[in-house]
């Protein structure tokens, strides 16, 4: 049996979004190994019980400037030695990060897919190179990261088989607070009204606040803004759950309200319905919840999605529609109501490429362009989207370069092979 390694050293959410890649490789069948950050190794074993998980000290070390941290990093040499001894047939490096690239140097360059560092030169395979080009036109593109990574595998399991269909589990409504990027999350004063509206319109008897230790203050702020009747039913678990306990909690929820977070992907993994609020740099067509039946309220103002690292060019206009009173009846499911301008509701579904966000409320100003892109991306993978737009030379001309035409064929067995 082929032995493969997936290098996924990024965070919580990315680890979960690797699921279709992992499932596809396991279905080949392959003996699948996964290199993940040491702090997430336990979660990785729970997510992927069929895989051998190797913890690598990559993030979250105390006192990064100190000698102990450097020592911990160098001790990774043992893990690298163990992995090298396994002689993998294929190594999938999923992230274009310095740490992941450095790790690829421990393996035969010919065996590495995705990204690799060879004699000091970084190489991307053609699919990844294409992704870097479409990432410059994020608003017009749109391929879920889970499906992007899975496309590196020789074949892919059907997208429907990745996560269970969303259905309530009886454990109440969860609220995931913030995420790593505060601008992508709704502030407590906006979130409070939304939480109350959703909670009041359903039958749940329990509200659970979820987040890391750093979000405890945010949770207290939110709690103070909730009506007393709801506050009584609220449990604040911020900073009080291990990853295992978080999994247990999330897996039993009826619904999760969340910005673009790792907890959102965890809920989707368990088939727990998600209602997500995407603004700022978050774009549901890239990192929305994976599976059927989730809802995303996505800001579609012209500046969305923006660049996380750059100051907002638009005075946080994308937040306005979430704060608008006109949004709450729509959220409560009132008939005949439309969301405020700049906001659109999407429901997750599937096409041949993978998960797709289909608009059900408001106006999606770039749907036509995005569907054309998905059809283009599908064709690149040898797939056809039913009723998808025909070939679009104009779009292809912006994404394919002369060097692709003359040097590369994306569908080769070995995408790095040039002759």
């Amino acid at each position: 049996m082929k032995r493969v390694l997936v290098i996924q050293l990024a965070r919580f959410g990315d680890l979960i979004q690797t699921k279709r890649t992992m499932s596809s490789l396991a279905a080949e069948p392959c003996e699948v190994h996964l290199a993940a950050d040491h702090a997430l190794a336990g979660l990785a074993r729970r997510l992927y019980p069929y895989a051998s998980v190797h913890g690598v000290a990559a993030h979250g070390l105390p006192d990064p400037g100190g000698a102990d941290a450097a020592s911990a990093i160098i001790k990774n040499a043992r893990v690298f030695a163990e992995l090298a001894a396994l002689s993998f047939d294929e190594v999938y490096c999923l992230n274009f990060s310095g740490l992941s690239l450095a790790m690829t140097t421990a393996f035969d360059p010919d065996s590495v897919r995705g990204y690799k560092l060879v004699s000091g030169q970084i190489h991307k395979d053609p699919w990844a190179r294409l992704a870097f080009r479409w990432a410059k036109k994020r608003r017009l593109a749109g391929l879920n990261l889970t499906d992007f990574w899975a496309a590196l595998a020789p074949s892919r399991v059907p997208p429907e088989s990745v996560n269970p269909k969303a259905s309530p589990r009886g454990g109440g409504v969860g609220v995931a607070l913030a995420g790593r990027n505060a601008r992508r999350a709704l502030p407590p004063e906006v979130l409070a009204s939304i939480v109350q509206t959703v909670f009041a319109s359903g039958k749940a008897q329990r509200l659970v606040l979820l987040g890391a230790k750093g979000q405890e203050g945010l949770a207290r702020d939110l709690s103070r803004r909730l009506k007393p009747g709801i506050m009584e039913k609220t449990s604040n678990l911020c900073g009080r759950t291990s990853l295992d306990a978080l999994c247990d909690e999330v897996s039993n929820l009826d619904l999760l309200l969340t910005p673009d977070t790792g907890v959102m992907h965890l809920a989707a993994h368990f088939g727990v319905p998600v209602t997500a609020f995407f603004l700022s740099s978050a774009w549901c067509h890239e990192t929305g919840p994976y599976g059927e039946g989730h809802v995303v309220w996505q800001s579609v103002v012209e500046s969305a999605p923006c660049l996380e690292s750059a100051p907002c060019p638009d005075g946080l206009r994308c937040l306005e529609s979430f704060a608008s009173p006109a949004f709450l009846p729509v959220l409560a499911g009132a008939r005949g109501k439309e969301p405020p301008p700049g906001l659109a509701g999407f429901r997750t579904d599937f096409d041949a490429l993978g998960v797709v966000c289909r608009p059900f409320a408001g106006t999606d100003p770039v749907m036509g362009r995005r569907l054309a892109f998905r059809a283009f991306a599908a064709r690149r993978l040898g797939l056809e989207i039913a009723d998808g737009p025909a070939a679009t030379p104009d779009l292809a001309a912006t994404l394919d370069l002369e060097t692709d035409w003359t040097l590369d064929q994306a569908r080769r067995p070995d995408p790095f092979e040039t002759v």
Binding site: A58, H59, L61, P64, G65, A67, A69, A70, S71, I73, I74, K75, N76, A77, R78, F80, A81, A84, S97, G98, L99, L101, A102, M103, T105, A106, F107, D108, P109, L117, S119, G120
Partner: protein, 428 residues
């Protein structure tokens, strides 16, 4: 100058030609001196360049294409500079660095040096390029140095050629190799006009001519070995070692003067001396300051050459004495390490603020205590000094071919991790 810090040096090789091996010797010497060296392998681009010449297009189109291609290669060098961030770019004659790139490097404060290991009277292109280099090293003195100063190349220095003692050395040859490469008299070099005529007087000896560009000369054809193919440097050392008398006649395109008495001293002079091989070399204006009369046997005209060949063939002891002294002098003064040290000292003397100080911690200080011993062994295996900076160690590891060992991968991983978490940007 003493205490030259460990530098980062990018050596830019020419695409082909006689200065190509010299560039490699320079890189090797700089590494031996403890510097982090990166080599731009211009020869890898040469096949594509030559392919343009088979296009059968109009000459103006070909010129345009060749220029465009060279701009791409030159841009590749610029990209390498941006990534490697060298203290010095050392180019060998005919290195594919365009003036546009040289201007850009100067604007960006990157020091450049050219070792022009050519005869300035023959290769006159220096006029167009010398002012763009910060340091211009040459193998001739007057009037070349004055002419360089006249066109604005203020930092020019005389830097004679040399040999690599690790490569040019006495060899124990097998009887088969002695038969193959040996003869009473040999010459290794290209078929320049003066040599073609001069060698006709030597055909009574047991004479072998090695090297290329001898075609079309019926009179010498019988003596030219292997059909006049190019001789690899490894083979050259065997020929030097196997020959009783190595003839070293400097080239000239002028057939009127067979023994020119010119100024510069060719690389073969140093290589033969370093090999401990006996040579008869024509008198050169710059030779006496490099080798004494008891170290190298010389001739000033063809009559003297013929006479001395006979004499030394009959006196092997004298040959041995010359060869031994020449090797001692070469080992003491004429290695590429000495040349590179002189070039760097000159550069430091002439360029204000060069080299710019770097805030790099030593590798041994950055890496954890428990792997000190393993790291020391790693540095030795990479031919890096024990006080090499962490950044230069990372660079050396990145440049390695193939699969890295676990500790090596872990060091690259640590470098990236420091960039992400410890406020140290990853090494370029």
């Amino acid at each position: 100058m003493t205490n030259m810090p460990h530098l980062r040096i990018l050596v830019v090789l020419p695409m082909y030609g006689g200065s190509l091996p010299i560039g490699r010797y320079c890189a090797s010497a700089l590494r031996s001196l403890g510097h982090a060296v990166e080599v731009f392998e211009a020869p890898d681009f040469h096949p594509a360049f030559t392919a343009l010449r088979t296009l059968r297009v109009t000459s103006d189109r070909l010129e345009f294409l060749e220029n465009s291609f060279l701009q791409v290669v030159s841009s590749a060098i610029a990209a390498k500079v941006e990534t490697f961030e060298p203290d010095l770019v050392l180019a060998l004659a005919q290195a594919p660095l365009s003036r546009q790139t040289l201007k850009r490097l100067r604007r960006d404060g990157v020091a450049t040096a050219m070792w022009f290991v050519e005869d300035f009277r023959l290769f006159t292109y220096w006029e167009a390029f010398a002012p763009y280099y910060d340091v211009f090293a040459v193998i001739q003195k007057a009037p070349f140095l004055d002419r360089l100063a006249g066109i604005g190349a203020a930092n020019s220095l005389y830097l004679p050629l040399a040999a690599d003692p690790a490569f040019h050395k006495p060899l124990e040859l097998s009887p088969v190799e002695r038969r193959k490469y040996g003869s009473d008299l040999s010459f290794l070099g290209a078929g320049y006009a003066n040599r073609r005529l001069a060698f006709r007087r030597l055909l009574d000896f047991d004479f072998k001519i090695w090297g290329s560009d001898w075609d079309g000369d019926e009179a010498l054809a019988r003596w030219v070995q292997h059909g006049g193919r190019r001789i690899a440097p490894e083979e050259a050392v065997k020929i030097f070692n196997a020959s009783a008398v190595n003839l070293n006649l400097h080239s000239s395109v002028d057939p009127a003067t067979l023994v020119t008495g010119g100024d510069f001293v060719n690389p073969r002079t140093f290589e033969l001396a370093m090999c401990g091989a006996f040579q008869l070399v024509d008198e050169r204006a710059l030779l006496p300051e490099l080798f004494g009369p008891d170290e190298l046997a010389t001739f000033k005209d063809m009559d003297e050459l013929v006479e001395k060949i006979r004499h030394f063939l009959a006196n092997p002891g004298e040959r041995e004495a010359f060869a031994k002294k020449a090797r001692q002098r070469a080992l003491a003064e004429h290695g590429y390490e000495a040349r590179m040290r002189a070039l760097l000292d000159f550069t430091a003397l002439r360029l204000d603020g060069w080299p710019k100080p770097r805030q790099n911690a030593g590798a041994l200080a950055v890496l954890p205590e428990e792997i000190r011993q393993e790291t020391a062994a790693l540095l030795a295996s990479l031919s890096l000094p024990q006080d090499v900076s962490f950044d230069d160690l990372v660079w050396a590891l990145r440049s390695r071919q193939g699969v890295l060992r676990p500790l090596e991968t872990a060091i690259l991983f640590l470098d990236e991790w420091r960039g992400q978490y410890a406020g140290k940007g990853p090494s370029a």
